[in-house]
């Protein structure tokens, strides 16, 4: 069962710090509370960036293991810190996959949605959009996924990525322009 996220950021920070102290004092199971609390947005980010549920799960797992190993180094917000680990994991994966497959033909796409329900949900537009997203530079893809797929505000994105709202708006606008150029012939 998912743990509800505390209402205010200050409460959230305090609760997270309390859990971190418990884990550092030897209560290993308390770490699952942090996983349950933050895994959904992180999973959506990894899925949006990679287009593959399997890869998203792997990135999430590696990121939480890394977070556990370096838990004593957390300063400030745990969610922002672990987001950066996941975001870097996604970018590293994209770099590697681009090196392996320089052209993105349909056969080169990461594995598709695996469960029957996900297969049913997968629309033609979604697969075309995923394919189009794969052609974007990682920074544009990241900005588009955070804005559209995760539904974050520009201020929140700027906070998490350590950049300005103006720069992020520019990235999202450029991503939209590129996606529209790729999709409008078929859909518009």
């Amino acid at each position: 069962m998912k743990t509800t996220v505390p209402a205010s950021p200050t409460d959230q920070l305090e609760v997270d710090q309390d859990i971190i102290s418990r884990v550092l004092a030897g209560d290993r199971d308390a770490f699952s509370t942090l996983i349950n609390r933050y895994s959904d947005p992180l999973y959506r980010h990894a899925l949006g960036m990679t287009g593959s549920p399997d890869v998203a799960e792997d990135i999430l797992q590696m990121s939480f293991i890394k977070a556990y190993q370096h838990l004593a180094e957390v300063r400030g917000r745990f969610d922002a810190w672990v987001f950066r680990i996941v975001a870097n994991g996604c970018k590293d994966w994209l770099k590697n996959i681009r090196r392996q497959h320089l052209s993105y033909d349909e056969d080169d796409q990461p594995s598709s949605y695996s469960t029957p329900d996900e297969e049913l949900d997968r629309t033609e537009l979604r697969s075309d959009l995923d394919r189009a997203l794969m052609t974007l530079a990682p920074s544009l893809r990241e900005a588009f996924v955070m804005k559209h797929v995760e539904g974050r505000s520009y201020e929140e994105m700027a906070d998490l990525l350590g950049t300005t709202v103006g720069a992020l708006k520019m990235r999202v606008h450029r991503a939209r322009e590129a996606l529209q150029a790729l999709l409008e012939e078929k859909y518009a």
Binding site: Y43, Q61, A137, R176, A181
Partner: protein
């Protein structure tokens, strides 16, 4: 009269042939707006950014763009409902290292283990250093 050293000036009306590397450049990496009818209008960006209401289609092109983005937004809404598969938390917990994460202590607070041999050697070294300093002072 000076020589015209800029050979390109003579080719003003002619398009420079594109290099293979330029043609292969991803669409997204271009710094200039894309020419033609593909540019996402200011109106649509404002709507998608939540700064303006959904634009009323002023022409056929805008209507098609609005329809495309409405469909993308519907798909994005569905993606926003996605949750982490149920098995993932247990899988991560099982994969965690058995060692507890170490507290990051400054070096002066870290415990240091010194064997008797090392302690005696360090003491002898200090005595020798003290004697050397004492001798040098006596010579002066």
């Amino acid at each position: 009269m000076q020589d015209n050293l800029n050979a390109r000036d003579g080719d003003a009306g002619r398009e420079r042939p594109r290099r293979a590397s330029e043609q292969a450049q991803p669409l997204s990496d271009r710094e200039v707006p894309i020419a033609g009818g593909t540019a996402t209008s200011e109106m649509i960006n404002s709507w998608l950014d939540g700064d303006a209401p959904e634009p009323v289609a002023v022409n056929a092109d805008t209507a098609r763009q609005v329809d495309l983005w409405r469909r993308i937004e519907e798909d994005s809404q569905r993606r926003r409902q996605l949750v982490t598969p149920a098995h993932v938390t247990a899988q991560i917990m099982a994969a965690l290292p058995t060692d507890l994460p170490q507290m990051a202590l400054p070096w002066w607070k870290k415990q240091m283990q010194v064997s008797p041999v090392v302690a005696i050697a360090a003491a002898a070294g200090l005595v020798a250093l003290g004697a050397a300093i004492g001798n040098s002072m006596r010579i002066r």
